[in-house]
């Protein structure tokens, strides 16, 4: 990339070096030196690991399949709305739908589960029934599954929507005119939406697989829990990495499949001229509203109810005041760190997207290397990333400049979630119509100013989406946060987790309300930006 446009790509590279390159080198150093550092090498039971791997895969598989089943129809609805958003018709519906469908993803999964879990306390009829029939664990597992599904179905919806929006609606109409049987039409829909469904299912699978917090709360021993226990008993980093190898391989494989699915260019651009409205659409709308109610609405009501019952005579104002005194700074710090992560993630996405659109092979290869690095980091256990960051940054001037500042948290969170930015960058690069890429080149987008001028709407939109997703993932991050947060730098996330363990729902409720507010704002902002950019880009593409 000539001119000054290299600044964006270089920024992405610098972030990659800070979050992946340098810690990876330190990690190698740690692994080589580790055998002499720690006593108590632990006994690792490989049969137990295999058994727990099956448990984790089973749960993640159930979540993925359930999310695909639930998220498909809302995804089709969103996709149609998305396709029509380039016209003035129904853009209000698209905005509302898209915002609402982003909110559940933005809430930490453990918050949704916790809310549902609190719905059947020990004095409830359901608990009494479960206890009487010795089904408490079964009901708890069902609650966990419901909580994870409530959180994951919108992921599938978004993925399906991305593909549906690029499928001509005439295809369905032609099948109708041909008097095709419902089964034939259903199979055709599956054929059209298959990639989106698979993509969403895979992402839901990976997200559930890497989550340990909800499983701990539900008393389920998983592969992630076992890795943590191995570390707790003094295993060396080398032992932990070896034990984590199956999970790492699985995550990398999943990420590669996601990569391939994203890499397929859309064959056709959707036409928004003709769509069929009617009862089926109203039905899907109602179904989507119901799902949203279960995912966001009811959990909030349940938490509010518990908060009131746990208030002990204190007013809401008093509770808020207590919360602010105790956790206010932590809440603010957590938000700021998450926002910075979101912004830097959008820089990564933008930088990689430009690199992938470059005509020179070596630039594209450099982007590939970075993306692979992000994906491998996502597959490494969080505590390993924490240790690597300690070794990498707790030295010389880096200690005062990075390790003892919140910058280390930002770097750690990006190491965990930067792969999302890389994937979105890949999508941005490949989904942009070739004509636009050529026009951008002709517009002289080699200087930074020209590049930004030519790509501003798309950059803003993609950056907005990356910002929203990574920021909210960062808000809920636990393993790295717990290990590298600077002394004296309060954060709300570990406190929420502790309060869940100690059954203090008032803290969880207030923090959740704050999370929800941020999620709503971030979702709405991202959708508005995306929507306006999409209209601008599409009008150019169709002309």
């Amino acid at each position: 990339m000539k001119g000054s446009a290299w600044i964006i790509s270089s920024s992405a590279l610098v972030i990659w070096l800070a979050a992946i390159g340098w810690p990876a080198m330190a990690c190698v150093e740690l692994i080589v030196a580790s055998d002499d550092l720690f006593k108590n090498p632990s006994t690792i039971s490989h049969s137990t690991l295999a058994q727990l791997l099956i448990v984790s895969i089973t749960w993640s598989g159930m979540v993925a399949i359930g999310a695909m089943l639930l998220g498909w129809l809302p995804g089709r609805l969103l996709g149609r709305a998305l396709a029509r958003s380039s016209t003035r018709r129904s853009s209000g519906l698209w905005l509302l739908l898209a915002t609402l469908l982003l909110v559940p993803i933005c809430l930490p999964a453990y918050v949704v589960f916790f809310a549902w879990w609190q719905a059947w306390p020990a004095d409830s009829w359901l608990f009494r029934w479960a206890l009487e029939h010795q089904q408490v664990q079964t009901v708890r597992h069902a609650t966990l599954l419901a909580g994870l599904l409530c959180w994951s179905w919108p992921i599938v919806s978004w993925c399906v929507a991305g593909f549906v929006a690029n499928t001509p609606v005439q295809r369905e109409e032609m099948l109708l005119l041909d008097a095709a049987r419902p089964l034939t039409r259903l199979l055709d829909k599956i054929r059209c939406d298959g990639r989106g469904l698979l993509l969403g299912g895979l992402i839901a699978f990976l997200a559930a697989f890497s989550n340990t917090t909800v499983f701990d709360l539900a008393e389920i021993f998983t592969f992630g829990n076992e890795l943590r226990a191995i570390e707790a008993l003094g295993a060396t980093p080398r032992e932990v990495l070896t034990a984590a190898a199956p999970a790492t391989a699985l995550t990398v494989l999943g990420a590669l499949i996601v990569w391939m699915l994203l890499s397929m260019r859309p064959a056709e651009i959707a036409s928004a001229r003709f769509t069929r409205d009617g009862r089926s659409r109203v039905g899907v709308l109602l179904f989507t509203a119901l799902l949203w109610l279960f995912s966001v609405g009811i959990p909030i009501v349940l938490l509010a109810r518990n908060m009131r019952s746990a208030a002990g005579g204190r007013t809401l104002g008093e509770q808020l005041s207590e919360f602010t005194t105790f956790y206010g700074r932590g809440m603010g710090n957590t938000m700021v760190v998450a926002m910075i992560c979101g912004v830097l993630a959008s820089v990564i996405a933008a930088g990689l997207a430009w690199m992938w659109q470059d005509r020179r092979a070596w630039v594209r290869s450099a982007a590939h290397v970075q993306a692979v690095g992000w994906m491998i980091a996502a597959a490494v256990p969080g505590t390993m990333i924490g240790s690597a960051l300690t070794v990498a940054y707790n030295r010389g001037w880096l200690a005062d400049g990075v390790y003892l500042t919140p910058a280390v948290l930002v770097i750690g969170h990006l190491a965990r979630f930067g792969f999302l930015a890389a994937l979105l960058g890949r999508w941005i690069a490949l989904q942009e119509p070739r004509a636009l890429v050529e026009m951008r080149a002709m517009d002289g987008a080699e200087r930074l100013g020209g590049l930004l001028l030519a790509t501003w709407p798309r950059l803003l939109a993609a950056g907005g989406a990356t910002f929203a997703i990574v920021m909210t993932m960062s808000l809920a991050e636990i393993p790295v946060t717990a290990q590298v947060r600077p002394p004296g730098f309060d954060l709300i996330t570990p406190s929420i987790l502790n309060d869940m363990h100690y059954q203090r729902p008032q803290t969880v409720m207030i923090a959740t309300a704050a999370f929800m507010g941020v999620a709503l704002l971030a979702s709405f902002g991202a959708i508005v930006l995306w929507s306006s950019a999409r209209r601008a880009v599409k009008s150019v593409a169709l002309r």
Partner: protein, 358 residues
């Protein structure tokens, strides 16, 4: 304003650089001390505030998550030690066994002062690497009214009797005090009785289908309070906290021997405080350690929701409801030395038992 995209992009980046700088500049020149503490955040913050008010020294506090208990901070201390630049000055652990591991690994440094001069030998390292204070007991929790009196166990070994089949829960021994307790059982029984008793106890637990809970000692108390189990192995502070929340639970100070001889009763696990070797603020660290070992802090912890047992005899008498009858006479170092072995064996036996049941 008609700003160019480049200008906007520049503003964007500048804002973030500024944010970073603001974070970095948030550190005042005021004297400070860095504390890593695994005690409950609610309790720890109260103590920290008192120290700051008394000395004017600012405490930079880092806590642990309940899920990882003390292990998260221990891993961090080890990693920082390995990187050659310790960042903590003082380590306040809610238990003792991992502190002993850190002492053996050379992560801690000796501390001596007037406060520690006459500290009880049981609760101190001979070289001053750590000091114990404000203990809690390992107890059996049960729900009064739901369990007949004749069913109440008197010793830990009782839990391996068939009477308790399917009625007992415990936390994952790889985290928290449960692992330390198992180490203490193995060390004590192997030495005071005969090798093999610990293994027999584990086999009994496995045959009784004792359930492991991933949610820790608080989860154990919750399971008993909810009626999912009749008995649970836990700590006194979790029972006091549950009672404060209105849960109907009580505790048994179970013995480690069939006979009620002195020194065979409940395992007391003290909080421990230690100075981190190479910590950046040694003077302030010394002040904080002495403060944590003061009578004032023991009183605060005894009156807190944790209800810790003061190790000062005179003070303990003022809190008779927290008193632990007949504490177990145990060498903590021996218990810590066999902890990992004991936990590994426990996990193997209990898991094999579970597989066998399936």
């Amino acid at each position: 304003m008609n700003a160019t995209p480049a200008f906007r992009f520049g503003c964007f980046l500048s804002l973030f650089i500024l944010s970073f700088l603001l974070f970095g500049c948030g550190r005042s020149e005021q004297q400070y001390v860095v504390l890593y503490a695994s005690a409950d955040e609610y309790v720890a913050r109260e103590v920290i505030t008192a120290f700051q008010e008394e000395t004017g020294i600012r405490v930079r506090f880092t806590g642990d998550t309940e899920a990882k208990k003390t292990t998260g901070l221990v891993e961090r201390l080890r990693a920082e030690y390995a990187s050659g630049k310790p960042q903590a000055d003082v380590f306040w652990s809610s238990e003792i066994f991992m502190t002993l591991d850190l002492a053996d690994e050379g992560v801690l440094e000796a501390h001596h002062s007037d406060t520690t001069k006459d500290w009880p030998a049981t609760f101190r390292d001979p070289n001053g690497l750590w000091y114990g204070f404000a203990a809690r007991g390992r107890v059996i929790v049960f729900a009064p009214g739901r369990v007949p009196d004749e069913d109440l166990p008197e010793t830990w070994m009782d839990l391996s009797r068939s009477t308790y089949k399917g009625r007992v829960v415990m936390a994952d021994p790889r985290f928290g005090t449960t692992g330390g307790h198992f180490g203490a059982m193995k060390a004590y029984w192997d030495r005071e009785y005969q090798p093999g008793i610990y293994s027999a106890f584990l086999l009994g637990l496995a045959e009784n289908e004792t359930r492991l809970l991933a949610s820790g000692n608080a989860g154990v108390v919750r399971a008993v309070a909810n009626g999912e189990a009749d008995f649970g192995m836990t700590d006194t502070d979790d029972v006091w906290a549950a009672q404060a929340q209105g849960m109907k639970v009580d505790l048994i100070y179970a013995r480690h021997s069939r006979h009620d001889d002195p020194g065979t009763g409940t395992l007391l696990i003290p909080n421990t405080v230690a100075r981190v070797k190479g910590g950046p603020n040694p003077d302030a660290a010394a002040k904080l350690i002495d403060f944590l070992l003061s009578e004032r802090v023991e009183r605060m912890l005894a009156e807190s929701v944790s209800g810790n047992v003061p190790i000062r005899r005179g003070l303990a008498e003022k809190y008779p409801h927290r008193a632990v009858p007949n504490p177990l006479a145990i060498d903590f170092r021996r218990a810590a030395a066999v902890r990992v072995e004991a936990v590994d064996e426990a996990m193997r036996v209990l898991r094999e038992g579970q597989r066998g049941d399936e």
